[in-house]
């Protein structure tokens, strides 16, 4: 299992809001694809998935406030249903 954590967004940013999830629970997500968009005062920030896997938990609703370092989702990177792409080095066009 891989935890999705609100990353360090820099100085003086301790909280952010979940704008929206790009995926739903049960979806397969590729490594480096953006899983969630966070919003701070004047910026949006997309958090990429660290591994390919099946999203098993989205712990927060859209509009919820989250803190830096908080676990917001869980990805199962060892799921049997996973058909890992043979070409993981393919260029990332997700944005």
């Amino acid at each position: 299992m891989v935890e999705i954590v609100v990353p360090d967004l820099g100085e003086d940013v301790e909280k952010a809001k979940i704008s929206f999830w790009h995926y739903e629970e049960g979806d397969k997500i590729e490594k480096n694809s953006d899983i969630v968009e966070l919003t701070t005062d004047k910026a949006t920030f997309n958090v990429p998935a660290p591994e390919t896997g099946i999203i098993t938990e989205l712990y927060f609703e859209e509009g919820d406030e989250v803190e830096v370092g908080e676990v917001i989702a869980l990805i199962d990177d060892e799921n049997e249903e996973l058909e890992l792409s043979e070409d993981e080095e393919e260029e990332d066009t997700n944005f």
């Binding site: 967004l9 820099g10 940013v13 919003t39 701070t40 004047k42 910026a43 920030f45 990429p48 997700n94």
Partner: protein, 213 residues
């Protein structure tokens, strides 16, 4: 840095173009500065609330203003002729991964470019953007994907300021806006001003410059 101008571009079309430009930088491409030149447009960031548009949809239509949602932070703003809109697409993985530092640095870039145009401007605590006394002259709203920036700022050279009065720009009630023309009484060549902005952005986001700016 690559410099790209987009004249008479539609906002929705520009969103697609920007997406491709950002993907190129995410995949290791050179940092770039995009200058879209929009016709009358209002864009709504993630903090937009309906109450911040002060006129009806019909009035917007008769004024020729198109309304778009934008995947950036902040509230509503206006873009149109007489304004410089600048999207610095910068890979912060080679700079400093810090949202606020990036925004404050963009403010510095604008302040330095305005100084060349003869306008003294300042930052304000808790109010992102660039100000001439209590009047706003530049607005900022950005987004990041894999620490590559998109969207950016708009700077008023000589737009019709009336358009800012039909909304609460950036969600600020009774906000007053100004322009270089209003402050100096002179016309300032937009292309020349863009040149100053490019100089400052290159100085600021040069890989080696990092935090020296």
């Amino acid at each position: 840095m690559k410099i790209k101008n987009f004249y008479d571009v539609d906002y929705a079309e520009m969103l697609d173009i920007q997406k491709k430009e950002v993907a190129e930088v995410v995949n290791g491409g050179e940092n770039r500065i995009l200058f879209p030149h929009f016709n009358h447009t209002m864009t709504m960031g993630r903090d937009f609330k309906d109450r911040d548009i002060l006129v009806t949809e019909n009035i917007l239509k008769s004024l020729g203003i198109k309304l778009f949602g934008a995947d950036r932070g902040g509230n509503i703003t206006y873009h149109g002729p007489g304004q410089i809109v600048c999207y610095p697409v910068i890979n912060l993985n080679y700079w400093k991964k810090d949202i606020n530092l990036f925004i404050r640095s963009i403010e510095n870039v604008i302040i330095r470019a305005l100084a060349v145009a003869g306008v003294v401007s300042v930052k304000k605590k808790q109010l992102t953007g660039v100000w001439v006394k209590d009047k706003k002259i530049a607005s900022i709203g950005v987004g990041f994907s894999k620490w590559v920036s998109y969207h950016g700022f708009s700077l008023n050279a000589d737009p019709r300021l009336y358009y800012f009065s039909i909304m609460n720009p950036c969600g600020i009630k009774d906000a007053e806006y100004t322009s270089i023309k209003k402050e100096t009484g002179k016309d300032f060549d937009i292309e020349l001003l863009k040149g100053y902005i490019i100089d400052e952005l290159e100085r600021c986001f040069d890989k080696a410059a990092a935090l020296a700016y």
